[in-house]
């Protein structure tokens, strides 16, 4: 996959206080990267540096296609309250003259807004403003999208729409960074997660289950379990506590279908088998613990 963004040794110091310390990050075409961390971790600052409205103290941000622009969804909607939604987008589009009226209308329809709605944006609900901001971010068809807390103010339907839109854009090759403090949201939307704490990226986690080697499996009886252990090897099978069927985590590079195809002829009665989900919450808690054991 082609890299569209490369951040190297990025630092930001404001009034002698380090806000970002040595951030290294890359983003590929079509990738959705989650930036997760507690409030004040530096997510917004990092996105603002990438979008160019804040200058880094040191380090570099390289865009593969700077001329294609960056779509930005700020933390809070930035709109002129007296204008209609369409007029707001028209005004922003006149900066680069890249999106024509037709494209503005399409972007509004994509996010579920009516381009013909004359209502002033000041009277919009927060969710509608957020949808309009999303429209301005995508209307010029940028190759890079930066979304800061995108589900702020969105209703459940809006969140589902957003997720589908992001998946579609990613499949068209758009690279997307989502900053959020909501674990579950990130888990559902992102291919990869960078956990940011106190201005540093403390961990990167790949959420794509295809690259995930853990399979959760349960079998009918103890004897099935013993056969399973013999098949897998003791080191590759970690038992889990269970109240009925023996259960464990299998570490295997084989796809689930191959594992099944090998176990069934061996006469092992399988009760359930599935890819084990990555427990982002556990990783996050582990990362946000301070040395003295106090959660930040």
């Amino acid at each position: 996959m082609k890299e569209i963004l490369k951040i190297r040794s990025l630092k930001k110091i404001v009034r002698r206080k380090p806000i970002l310390r040595d951030i290294n990050l890359t983003l590929s075409e079509g990738e959705i990267l989650g930036l997760i961390g507690p409030n004040g971790a530096g997510k917004t600052t990092l996105l603002k540096i990438i979008s160019g409205s804040i200058t880094a103290t040191a380090g570099s941000v390289q865009l593969a296609e700077p001329e294609s622009g960056i779509g930005v969804l700020p933390e809070t909607p930035a709109l002129l309250p007296s204008l209609s939604g369409f007029q707001n987008l028209q005004l922003l589009a006149s900066i680069r003259r890249k999106a024509r009226e037709q494209e503005i209308r399409e972007a509004m329809k994509t996010v579920g807004l009516d381009p013909a709605n004359r209502k002033a944006v000041g009277n919009y609900s927060l969710g509608m403003k957020q949808r309009l901001m999303l429209a301005q971010a995508i209307m010029e068809k940028p190759k890079l999208l930066l979304l800061d807390e995108p589900t702020n103010g969105l209703d459940p339907l809006g969140i589902i729409d957003l997720r589908q839109l992001l998946f579609r854009l990613a499949s068209q090759g758009v690279g997307i960074i989502i900053a959020s403090h909501l674990l579950h949201e990130i888990e559902l939307m992102c291919h990869r997660v960078a956990i940011i704490s106190n201005g540093s990226i403390v961990r990167e986690v790949n959420l794509q289950s295809s690259e995930q080697h853990l399979i959760e499996i349960s079998v009918n009886s103890r004897s099935d379990w013993d056969k399973l252990v013999r098949w897998a090897g003791k080191d590759n099978l970690r038992p889990l506590p269970s109240k009925d069927f023996p259960r464990g985590i299998l570490n295997s590079e084989l796809p689930v279908s191959r594992v099944l195809a090998e176990l069934l002829p061996a006469g092992i009665a399988i009760e359930s088998i599935q890819r084990a989900a990555i427990n982002l919450e556990a990783i996050f808690l582990e990362c946000s613990q301070l040395k003295d054991g106090v959660y930040r």
Binding site: V14, K48, S51, G52, S53, I54, T55, P66, E67, G69, I70, G71, V72, P74, T76, P77, A78, L79, L80, S82, L91, L92, S94, I95, R96, R97, Q136, E140, L146
Partner: protein, 253 residues
């Protein structure tokens, strides 16, 4: 890109309903000045004299606030709404962005204050016959105003427009650092009155240059140029400073 930005800013500032409201307010204030004019004696009541009297009575007090309110908040508004980031992410450079604001501030004031005073001048034509200004003109230009009342009024108009751009520029400069719209809008007024009281009648007291409180020593045309030069110098300085300060700033949102 720069032309796009300038066009956008001009369209934005001139399309503001706020300007219309402030214009009506300004006309209202100036009409109050005309009412006061009626209580004063004069050998001949004329439209030009009404214009000279009312503007000289009202604007040295109200112009800084009118200018601040009408176009002084352009940058503060964007910063408050968070729009700056949306410009920068579209590849607009800080100097391009702030240049659009500076030009918007100057052109906006030319249109707002110029439009306000032309409208007011036309209004006085409805109320009084045209004629010489015999009584209420600046001391240094009494004779000039009596013989060339129309030109005198147009010169006044130019001076007020230049002063208004200076006040708007001060607000723009302040908003490079201050985001609070209210503070930004009233700063020109506060600085003006602070200067008025602290500088008393010294050479750089802005009140002297707005109320045309000049001696009668020099010729009218020289004094006019001096007054206009005073305001243009301030206006250019603060706008250039605003462009430089914003361009050199590291963080723009």
């Amino acid at each position: 890109m720069l032309t796009n930005i300038i066009r956008l800013e001009l369209k934005r500032i001139l399309g503001k309903k706020k300007l219309l409201v402030l214009g009506i307010l300004g006309i209202g204030l100036l009409i109050t000045g005309v009412v006061i004019y009626l209580e004063y004696n004069t050998p001949q009541r004329t439209s030009f004299e009404a214009f000279s009297f009312a503007t000289g009575y009202i604007l040295p007090l109200a112009l800084p606030l009118l200018a601040g309110l009408s176009t002084g908040d352009m940058l503060a508004e964007d910063r408050h709404l968070g729009l700056v980031q949306l410009f920068m992410s579209r590849g607009v450079l800080p100097y391009q962005y702030i240049s659009g604001k500076a030009i918007g501030s100057v052109v906006g004031q030319i249109c707002f204050t110029g439009g306000l005073l032309i409208t007011f001048l036309l209004t006085t034509f409805l109320l009084f016959p045209a004629g010489p200004i015999l009584e209420y003109a600046a001391d240094f230009a009494k004779a000039f105003a009596a013989t060339n009342p129309m030109v005198y009024c147009l010169v006044l108009l130019l001076i007020y427009v230049c002063a208004a751009t200076a006040f708007s520029g001060i607000a723009l400069l302040v908003s490079v650092w201050i985001e609070n719209i209210f503070v930004v809008v009233v700063t020109p007024t506060i600085l003006y009155f602070a200067a008025l009281y602290s500088l008393s009648m010294s050479l750089i007291n802005p009140y002297c240059y707005l109320a045309l409180n000049e001696g009668v020593s020099s010729s009218p045309s020289f004094t006019f140029l001096k007054v206009m030069g005073y305001w243009i110098t301030i206006s250019v300085t603060v706008h250039v400073l605003a462009v430089m300060a914003f361009s050199l700033k590291k963080d723009h949102s």
